[in-house]
Symmetry: C2
Subunit: 101 residues, 2 copies
DNA sequence: ACGTTCATACGATAAACGACGTACTACGAT
DNA sequence: ATCGTAGTACGTCGTTTATCGTATGAACGT
């Protein structure tokens, strides 16, 4: 589980899925990752097998959603802490990259 | 950082260091890990390079301590959430292993 | 029926990782 | 001076991992 979230790409996926409302879903293709489709499939599979997301076929597309409830039951506060920390970290890096005077 | 904590051995080290008071320290050898000394060194190095622990030589022994302050500043609540979740997970597994009637 | 789109499956490959053993250094005790 | 102890450095080995390309399958639109 921690391993599943310790990859930048996967964390980006989770970050993308995070603001969705309960039972709201997004197809895999909604996220623009700098990797090929097959690698994307791989990461989604890792997340699914770690219990982080659930995937359902809706006609032609495969919809994804975070398993917020289950995650908060098993790992209370974890996902929240990780995403908060990641947002802060990226904030720092952005500030660094812009090299303020 | 997440990667550093996503290994069972390293998590065990952090779990061991966790209950220590501020500025209390423990030598590497205080933890009984089911791995050789060289592998132990490797894991301690990963933790140190990830900023999770700090290591100081005290005479002949190398003392270790969690960098609680820095970690809570950079990743508020993360370590807490991880250790809580891990404790719960291990609790579940123990209960499963004992196979209650 | 045909092509398009979305996602998976199946290699292949290069890098990273965990684990080991051995050799080495630094310190303290005898 | 010698030995033991604690930890590191380095090389190796097998496994896992992230990435890719290509081929495949399922559903929709024309």
């Amino acid at each position: 589980m921690l391993h599943a979230l310790s990859d930048p790409m996967r964390l980006q996926i989770v970050r993308f899925l995070w603001p969705l409302e309960q039972d709201e879903e997004a197809p895999c293709s909604a996220i623009d990752l700098a990797i090929t489709k097959s690698t994307t499939t791989h990461h989604f599979r890792v997340l699914r097998e770690a219990g982080v997301i659930r995937q359902v076929y809706r006609g032609t597309a495969k919809m994804n959603a975070l398993r917020r409830g289950d995650l908060d039951a098993l790992f209370p506060g974890l996902l929240d802490a990780i995403l908060t920390a990641d947002a802060a970290r990226r904030g720092r890096e952005d500030r660094l990259a812009r090299s303020p005077a």
